[in-house]
Amino acid sequence: MKNKALSGKKGFHFTQRTNEVISRTLSYIGLIMLSLIWIVPILWIILSAFRTETNVDGDLIGIVTSNYFPNKMGPDNFVNLFQGTFYGVKNAFPRWLLNTLIIAVVDCLISTFLILSVAYCMSKLRFKMRKPFMNITMILGLFPGFMSMIAIYYLLKSIGLAGNTAEKAYLNIIGLVLAYSAGAGMGFQVAKGFFDVIPSSLVESAKLDGCSNFKIFIKIILPLSKPIIIYTALMSFTAPWMDFIFAKVIIGEGAPEMWTVSVGLYSLMFGAQANVNYFTQFAAGCVCVGIPIVGLFMFLQKYYVEGVTAGAVKGQKGGHMHKSLTPWKNARLAVFGIGIAAILFVIAMVLPFYSYSYFFQGKSMTFAACMMANKQMIIPFAMVISALVFEIIAVILMIFLPKNKVAHTLNSVFSFVAAFLTLGILFISVCRLWVIPYTFEYLAQQTLEIGYVFYLVFLLFNGVLACYMTAIGGKVEELA
């Protein structure tokens, strides 16, 4: 009897189709439940960022515990966060953002260079000290970092790059960048795993043609390793946004104006002047930090996966070679770039913009308010806006027009005009730093000129973007 039941000849039995439907439905239910678990805590942070429930005194409540969904919502937390004074630093949060951005960019450049160069040597060159070097780096990497952190602090302090306060506090940032990027070369394993998959025959044949190792690295290996370059850059760019122990020790409690965002936000919740009521502002800060980083991850997801796989898995091929950008991908990149540029511009508009303050009796005003008060500034403003408009037109052309010569030429022309406008204003703005002698002193004294710095960063970024778009137009034309 038992055997018969098992063989399914007798009794109720699903057809294969129903079976599949049931298993698929179950999978969907499982996936959706899991997704909910994954999203609930994250959504809570986002909701908290927009909470504006007040207590009896009319102050914002920190952690609201009675209800998951807020009763009142508004942007107050963001406004408070951006304009608030924390740890005695005016406009602390934008300042921290800027510090982290600077650290992240410099660290990203240095680390990527070091990692790629070491990985290339370990993967494609053969020399006497190769194996010992690999073993030594592996063993050194196993020591817990905290004890060495103390030694690094005193080493940096002895050359004046850590533990400074007040006027010299900016030196701590240099120290932190050094500490972040110096050890980077030892984390070459992921990139080495990637280089290992690039066929050695390519290198051999180039050598037969008389290429030096340097040329092989620059002309053959690097162009083939876009995914791993992007992965390495992504990892080292996001590290300073995530780390807080190291930053806390090296920059120190004494220089809150030089903290990174993570140290600052952590101190809002757990520092000397921590306050439970800051929680909603902390959440707002988390959203501000989280969105760009999550955006970067989503945008570069493919490369991230490839990097992860290259590092952990032997002999997997990523299918990454010889793929050129399709026009649509170019457009997506450009849209992303313009998005960032626009965000930077908006931030620059709403932040205090002190450099014109001596026109206005030292009042602190935002860029936008300066514009209202001073008619002369309308001209550069109009130029910036028109540059953005030109870029957007170029992107629209790229996406919607058929891929012919005329469209690409138009695209190039528009981008070129945008590049010309932006770089021109950048030139004038940088010159202004010399024309108005106070500006440098303000910068040096840490008197905030955040808005202006963001404005310059925006101009630089947008200029590069426009140049890139011009180049794309020209390149596609060549291909056509």
Binding site: R24, Y28, G30, L31, L34, W38, I39, P41, I42, W44, I45, I63, T65, N67, Y68, L114, S117, V118, C121, L125, R130, F133, L140, L142, F143, P144, F146, M147, S148, A151, I152, Y154, L155, S158, A179, A182, G183, G185, D196, S212, N213, F214, F244, V249, L265, M269, C286, G290, I293, V294, M298, Q301, V305, E306, T309, G311, A312, V313, K314, Q316
Partner: protein, 518 residues
């Protein structure tokens, strides 16, 4: 005939059980370490002899320039007309000698030969009169003594290396002249640096950086374990200025921990094994829950007929992309005593007192709850990572394996266990090892979630119930200033992770067959 060939399944050679293999591996490891150390010394002896023979030959055979090079760096290069190279060597020598002789001072502590003398860690606790500047000097600081002493030793090694390089370079020019070639010009040397010696050029920055920011700090840390560097003892000194001084203490710190003679030693001795045990449990659970959870999730998402794959993937990737201090602090607040989860449970009348999910409550919380929660939340963070990786691998499994299995009439579950899992596990072993070691040192998760809590009643320095070795190390050093004890814990942690890594890496295929994939 064809049926037969298809049905033949290769019998795997019979293997001992996993424990036997594990212990054998450990045995092999220690034998190998012994052999390695013996070989190292034999080789060292041979190399030393060779080196001195070579050295003597160079001095006797070399031209006047080479002979002079033994005393003045770059002399041989000048003799051969390689002026740029010679100048570089000479400048390096002058700089280093000045460094050793003049003893530049930073924060009142000298480098150079004085730093070597200071390595004895016999600092002067009093203000002293400095005859050169005419000012009173601050009392000495032992940690700077130690640090600067190490830096000076590294500088001396560098001096010797440059010395040898300079002699070699001059001798090579001699040989070139003898065999009728011209000594290389600076441009030619530069070109070799770009080609056959490219690795030297590329690795130098990393080596210098690693030396300064990794090697010196690590040696410093190891040295600290043998000193009396802890803030409690130093602050107990009656003399105000003695608070910057510590001394060599030999193996007494290690003995204290195991014998438990001092009060601190008793506490640490009592908590060391429990923390070690929990670290091991944590590492095993954290690694394998994330690993298998990730594989299952990947299978679920990549199942045939499931739509919106990308959407699901993006949802799960969120926890990787969001900085950990944000997501973990969110979790901590969500699950805190007054947090929404507890409040909701209370309003449903399911519980009357808050549950200390993460052991942050002041009342004694159940450590088991906290431990389980930490592992579960770690899954929330770690599962997507494995999911991403295995998704890629799943697509690369050769489809003919499944075809063959289907022809043989294997069921889907059987295929899962006989093909999919073995393949994934085979390919991701290196990842499994590195993530295991990573979990032993996983600082963020514990520090941000529980801070080591719930605490053990009546103990001050010791670890809480969920503290790992690393977070304990952090508490001891940064919070309590017990640097020497922290250093000992650091060394233990290192020994454990190093043993695991070395055993597994040396035995893994990835290490043995490093070149096969190229």
């Amino acid at each position: 005939m064809s049926d037969k060939t298809q049905n033949v399944v290769e019998e795997a050679p019979k293997k001992d059980n996993i424990f036997k293999r594990f212990f054998r591996a450990i045995g092999h490891f220690f034998v190998n370490v012994g052999k390695g150390i013996a070989n190292f010394f034999v080789n060292l002896y041979r190399k030393c002899v060779e080196f001195f023979v070579e050295f003597g030959r160079r001095f006797v055979d070399g031209s006047i320039g080479t002979k002079l090079s033994h005393f003045i760096f770059g002399a041989g290069n000048f003799y051969h007309g390689q002026f740029i190279k010679g100048t570089i060597f000479l400048l390096l020598q002058v700089g280093l000698v000045l460094f050793f002789v003049l003893c530049p001072e930073v924060n009142g502590t000298p480098y150079g030969y004085k730093a070597l003398a200071n390595l004895a860690l016999k600092g002067n606790p009093n203000m002293t009169y400095d005859p050169v500047t005419g000012f009173l000097r601050n009392p000495d600081d032992s940690k700077l003594f130690l640090l600067f002493g190490l830096v000076t030793i590294i500088m001396m090694i560098a001096y010797i290396l440059i010395w040898i390089l300079n002699i070699q370079s001059s001798y090579k020019a001699d040989q070139d002249l003898k065999s009728g070639r011209k000594p290389t010009t600076f441009k030619e040397d530069w070109n070799t640096l770009l080609d056959s010696k490219f690795h030297v050029l590329m690795l130098t920055p990393t080596c210098i950086a690693a030396l300064v920011f990794t090697v010196i700090p690590t040696v410093f840390m190891i040295c600290i374990a043998f000193t009396t560097y802890n803030v409690v003892d130093m602050n107990a000194a009656e003399d105000l200025y003695n608070k910057n001084l510590f001394h060599w203490n030999g193996f007494n710190n290690f003995a204290d921990i195991f014998k438990g003679q001092t009060s601190l030693g008793v506490e640490i001795g009592a908590r060391f094994l429990p923390v070690l045990g929990w670290t091991a449990i944590w590492a095993v659970f954290a690694t394998f829950t994330c690993y298998f959870g990730g594989i299952l999730l990947a299978l679920l998402i990549n199942k045939k007929g499931i739509k919106f794959k990308k959407v699901f993937r993006v949802v799960f990737i969120l926890t990787i992309a969001i900085p950990q201090f944000i997501s973990l602090l969110a979790m901590r607040n969500l699950l805190s005593g007054e947090g929404p989860v507890n409040q909701i449970l209370k309003s449903l009348n399911w519980i009357t007192n808050s549950i200390g999910f993460l052991g942050n409550n002041t009342s004694g919380d159940n450590p088991i709850v906290a431990k389980v929660m930490v592992i579960v939340i770690n899954m929330w963070l770690g599962v997507p990572y494995t999911m991403l990786m295995t998704s890629g691998i799943l697509m690369n499994i050769p489809t003919d394996l499944y075809e063959a299995a289907r022809v043989d009439g294997a069921s889907k579950t059987k295929m899962l266990f006989k093909i999919t899992f073995p393949y994934i596990i085979f390919v991701t072993t290196p990842y499994l090892i590195s993530s295991f070691v990573g979990n032993i040192n996983s600082f963020n998760t514990i520090f941000l979630l529980t801070g080591g809590g719930p605490s053990v009643v009546g103990k001050t320095y010791v670890a809480g119930e969920t503290d790992l070795l690393v977070t304990w190390l952090y508490k001891l050093t940064i919070d309590n200033g017990e640097y020497n004890t922290g250093a000992i814990i650091g060394i233990f942690t290192f020994m454990i992770t190093a043993t695991i890594t070395l055993i597994s890496y040396r035995r893994s295929k990835a290490y043995k067959e490093e070149d096969t994939f190229q």
